[in-house]
């Protein structure tokens, strides 16, 4: 009997399947016992010798299911056996699975004695050492880690491959590995410039911070790591790493006379190439990187993808490619269903799902009758998470996040953590940075917080940090977590999860979210608790089956909807901006840009995947539309997602204007007519490029938000001004009637959507076409050179001093608070740093979190030798 046959037999009905399931249910019960009031019998005997032998056989398999069986048996033995010998044996299986962090955790929790390697027989000792050596990832002479199977595989393939695609869930440690690898390329001088592309600003900040911390271990103290797309970096002699969103990468590539040639590009959350909103922009960015340097090494990272190899299809010929598939989990995950006991609203039970079958674990009581859907979710989370840490509640909207967090807070009225200095500092900072009536001000005092995309990064990061430390026990979050914030938890509680407001979450997104349950090295078990699964309106597709993401580029998806695309391109020249289809417009823009640049579509990656006849038809349709285009080529390349027809329409608009050319330029934010001018420009953008600020009644609020943001108004003041406007409006009779939470949320969301996303993107296009118009009219001398609105808007500042503070690594919030005390607006990074070093900021009246951020930056800069 071969090993493989034996492994398959073991997990079959005739093998030990029954015992495996028994153990699985038993260990799940034991792991959650502290949260339950009554537990179904946990007093069971197990034939450990037989099970551990099976685990040893399973651990030699490459099959993920087999490896998970091995992990389950090993952890059950380690955590719940009464006999030290059995616990040691469980640890040895974990060593075979390269899971040394869990062994360390067991030692920390005194489940096993230290120095396991010395307590076993000679042969096992040799094997133990061999396995330790095999899993050792050496970053440099001083630093190494014991990697898991995925990390070891990734590290080894990175050394050979030019293009690599790796997929693994959050807890597998892929980001940590890749960042260390990237830094090792700099310390060994194999790389001069690299870009790390992440989908959200939150992730960009996190990666930048991690790189800055890790570079010290690699003796790269002075290595420049930045998320600012500054023109000066382009062509820089000293090595550097940039961390950008796809939008910022375009801003950077547009900034110099010729785009930077990067040696390494890392595309994190690469499944975003399938994204309707940003997929095409990301693909365009990647293609631009490779056009500038066809030897650029490219690494794609994605969470648990079905087809990671598809990302390597566009690799140039003759490069070495590699796929690093997802390995088995490092932490056991329990998929648990929470249901109410019939006719007893406060009595609930938990069941473990194994291959769709439910196995009762035990029961628990809610704090009160859950009279609505929000309470059902909040009270279940409260009951299960009250005596532990790391409970994450997933909700569908920001307003629901605030509501559920408040319900959990109410249930914790016997807890007062306001003595905790970090929580009270966070509370104090929320008051100062946002508003005294912002819900977090009180919530965090009982260790409860919410988290959504539009919150300022300084608060969001602090919440993530305190949640990871266990000081915040409950975190209620929206889909920002799926969008890529590297945060893990012990338990996730969900009820009818949606992505956005409308769509029920796909099983892939659900499992991407669920991948965060179980913190490797901090937990043995991660729980995913699904509430009310039997209700068809809440879970229309039942309990999500474990599936991986199918990655399909957005360009491929749209081009394969051939008839729709053909019709759209045909009608595009005469189309009103109100009729633009976001999805089709992005791909049309991509194709037109390609045709203009290359003269033919035949080599465009998505075109190569359709029939030659269809490709020919598209080209024949696109080509004539471009004959009358005279927008410069570089403008077309610099503005992905905006079609050349739209850009040409804008150029024609300028040509038809008869007024003074200066009247077309934006005004600096300090000019009293600046808002009026933004209104005019946004009207022109709505008319010619895309209706991003439409309908017309929305233009003024958008212009005001953009103006306030760009002149560096703090979010707190913007919120206060909004509240004041609402008061004056007279819609509310008294201050008590003002919907504070809603108005605060809306202001934050407008800043993110309008001021930081649409305004920089479309103002950038407006200015580049306007510049061409000034050149045509021989008036280029009148065009201000320093119109870096895209940069100012992205960061919400308009002075060099503020950009310098942000360049040092401070958040916008801290930079603005600090710059209030600085008289000069043109300070360089060095000048700003000198003032920070002097320590004068310590005596200023700044929010506690701001002071902490400044302190950390100063410390970091000292380490960097600056």
């Amino acid at each position: 009997m071969s090993l493989q046959v034996l492994q398959n037999w073991l997990e079959s009905e005739s093998g030990i399947k029954n015992q495996l399931n028994q153990l699985r249910i038993w260990s799940a019960r034991k792991s959650i016992v502290s949260s339950l009031q009554n537990v179904v019998d946990t007093d069971q005997d197990h034939d450990w010798q037989k099970l551990l032998l099976a685990a040893s056989i399973f651990s030699q398999s490459d099959d993920k299911r087999h490896q998970e069986y091995a992990l389950m048996i090993a952890q059950s033995a380690l955590c719940f056996s009464d006999e030290p010998l059995i616990r040691d044996a469980g640890s040895l299986i974990l060593a075979r699975l390269s899971n040394h962090r869990t062994i360390n955790l067991a030692q920390e929790q005194h489940l096993i004695e230290p120095n396991l390697g010395t307590r076993v027989g000679v042969i096992e000792q040799l094997l133990w050492n061999k396995r330790k050596l095999n899993s050792e990832i050496v970053f440099n002479e001083k630093h190494s880690i014991s990697g898991n199977l995925f990390q070891v595989d990734l590290w080894s393939k990175l050394s050979d491959a030019d293009w690599l695609s790796a997929t693994a869930p959050t807890a597998a440690g892929k980001t940590f590995t890749i960042l260390n690898w990237l830094l090792s390329q700099f310390s060994s001088k194999k790389c001069h410039s690299a870009v790390f592309v992440a989908p959200t600003r939150a992730l960009v900040t996190e990666i930048e911070r991690q790189l800055n911390e890790l570079k010290i271990d690699h003796n790269l103290n002075s290595l420049k790591i930045t998320s600012l797309p500054l023109r000066e970096l382009n062509g820089r002699k000293e090595p550097f790493i940039t961390v950008f969103t796809q939008e910022r990468l375009h801003i950077f590539l547009n900034s110099g006379s010729s785009p930077q040639k990067f040696d390494i590009a890392i595309i994190d959350e690469a499944q975003k190439l399938s994204d309707e909103r940003r997929g095409v922009i990301l693909q365009d960015a990647l293609e631009r990187l490779c056009r500038e340097n066809n030897k650029c090494k490219v690494v794609f990272l994605s969470p648990h993808s079905k087809n990671p190899e598809v990302l390597l299809e566009d690799a140039p010929e003759n490069v070495i490619t590699a796929v690093v598939p997802s390995a088995s989990s490092t932490v056991m995950q329990n998929l648990i269903v929470a249901e109410q006991v019939p006719r007893k609203p406060t009595e609930w039970k938990l069941s473990l799902s194994i291959e769709g079958e439910l196995n009762e674990l035990g029961g628990f009581k809610l704090i009160d009758r859950p009279t609505n859907a929000a309470k059902r979710l909040a009270f279940v989370a409260l009951a299960l998470g009250k005596s532990t840490t790391g409970t994450l509640v997933y909700v569908n909207t920001a307003s629901a996040a605030e509501k559920i967090a408040t319900l959990i807070y109410d249930g914790l009225d016997d807890i007062d953590l306001s003595e905790d200095s970090e929580l009270s500092e966070l509370s104090e900072s929320c008051k100062k940075i946002i508003h005294p009536k912002f819900q977090l001000v009180k919530l965090v005092k009982r260790g409860v917080a919410f988290h959504y995309g539009n919150m300022p990064s300084i608060l969001r990061e602090e919440i993530e940090r305190l949640f990871t430390l266990g000081e915040i026990k409950f975190l209620v979050s929206t889909s920002t977590l799926i969008e890529g914030v590297n945060i893990a938890c012990k338990t996730i509680v969900v009820r009818g999860p949606k992505k956005g407001i409308m769509h029920h979450m796909s099983p892939q997104d659900f499992w991407n979210l669920a991948g965060r349950a179980g913190r490797w090295g901090a937990d043995f078990y991660g729980n995913i608790v699904c509430v009310d699964v039997s209700k068809a309106d809440v879970w229309p597709y039942g309990l999500p089956q474990k599936t991986a993401y199918p990655i399909k580029r957005e360009t491929d998806t749209v081009i394969q909807q051939y008839d729709d695309l053909i019709e759209y391109i045909t009608n595009r020249p005469a189309m009103d901006t109100n009729d633009l289809d976001h999805k089709l417009e992005h791909v049309t823009a991509y194709l037109m840009s390609w045709q203009i640049r290359e003269g033919s579509l035949k080599d465009a990656s998505p075109i190569k995947k359709i029939s030659p006849e269809a490709a020919q038809n598209i080209e024949e349709l696109v080509q004539p539309l471009l004959e009358s285009i005279d927008v410069e080529r570089k403008i077309v390349s610099a503005n992905p997602g905006i079609s050349v027809i739209a850009l040409q329409r804008l150029l024609e608009f300028f040509r038809n204007q008869s007024e003074d050319m200066e009247s077309l330029l934006p005004l600096p934010p300090e000019d009293p007519d600046s808002v009026d001018q933004f209104v005019f420009i946004f009207d022109v953008i709505n008319l010619t490029l895309a209706p991003v600020f439409a309908p017309q009644q929305r233009v003024l609020p958008c212009a005001l938000t953009t103006w306030d943001w760009m002149r560096g108004k703090t979010l707190g003041r913007m919120i206060a001004a909004r509240l004041e406007r609402e008061r004056k409006n007279g819609s509310y009779e008294s201050d008590e009637e003002l919907p504070y939470a809603k108005l605060i949320r809306e202001t934050m969301s407008q800043v993110e959507e309008i001021a930081r996303f649409y305004a920089p993107k479309y103002l950038g296009a407006y200015l580049s076409v306007l510049r061409q118009h000034f050149v045509e009219k021989d008036q280029i001398d009148m065009f201000p050179d320093e119109l870096t609105y895209d940069l100012f808007l992205e960061f919400g500042v308009s002075t060099k001093t503020l950009i310098s503070l942000i360049g040092l690594g401070l958040s916008r919030t801290s930079s603005i608070e600090l710059a209030e005390y600085y008289g000069r607006s043109e300070m360089s990074e060095e000048e700003v740093l000198t003032r920070l070093h002097s320590g004068e900021w310590e005596s200023l009246d700044l929010p506690p979190l701001v002071k902490r951020e400044i302190r950390n930056i100063v410390k970091q800069k000292i380490l960097e030798g600056m």
Binding site: F680, V684, N686, V699, L700
Partner: protein, 96 residues
């Protein structure tokens, strides 16, 4: 009760002033801020403009085209682009 006053602008007959005002308002509503008025509507507007009490002053050296622009933040109105490139706004209500 005021007597109905029929109006005729550019060959189009309206039973009362209110109808003419609605007609002009509908034309205005078709356009976005900064959009140029199409030829067919421009012919009608040009005739309407002649009825403006300050027509001479508004027309100046001649009308090149009409366009729509914001008057105040919340409203839009018709503007004239003159042949010498200068622009001026006018109220369609004064034309009826």
């Amino acid at each position: 009760m005021a007597k109905r006053q029929p109006v005729e602008i550019g060959g189009v007959k309206f039973d009362k002033k209110g109808d003419a005002l609605d007609y002009l308002k509908d034309i205005l509503g078709k356009y976005k801020p900064e959009e140029t008025v199409v030829e067919q509507d421009s012919i009608f507007l040009r005739q309407a403009l002649d009825r403006h009490p300050e027509a001479q002053e508004k027309i100046g050296c001649g009308v090149a085209s009409f366009f729509v622009r914001r008057a105040d933040f919340s409203t839009t109105c018709f503007w004239i682009r003159r042949t010498d490139g200068t622009v001026v706004r006018f109220s369609y209500k004064s034309c009826v």
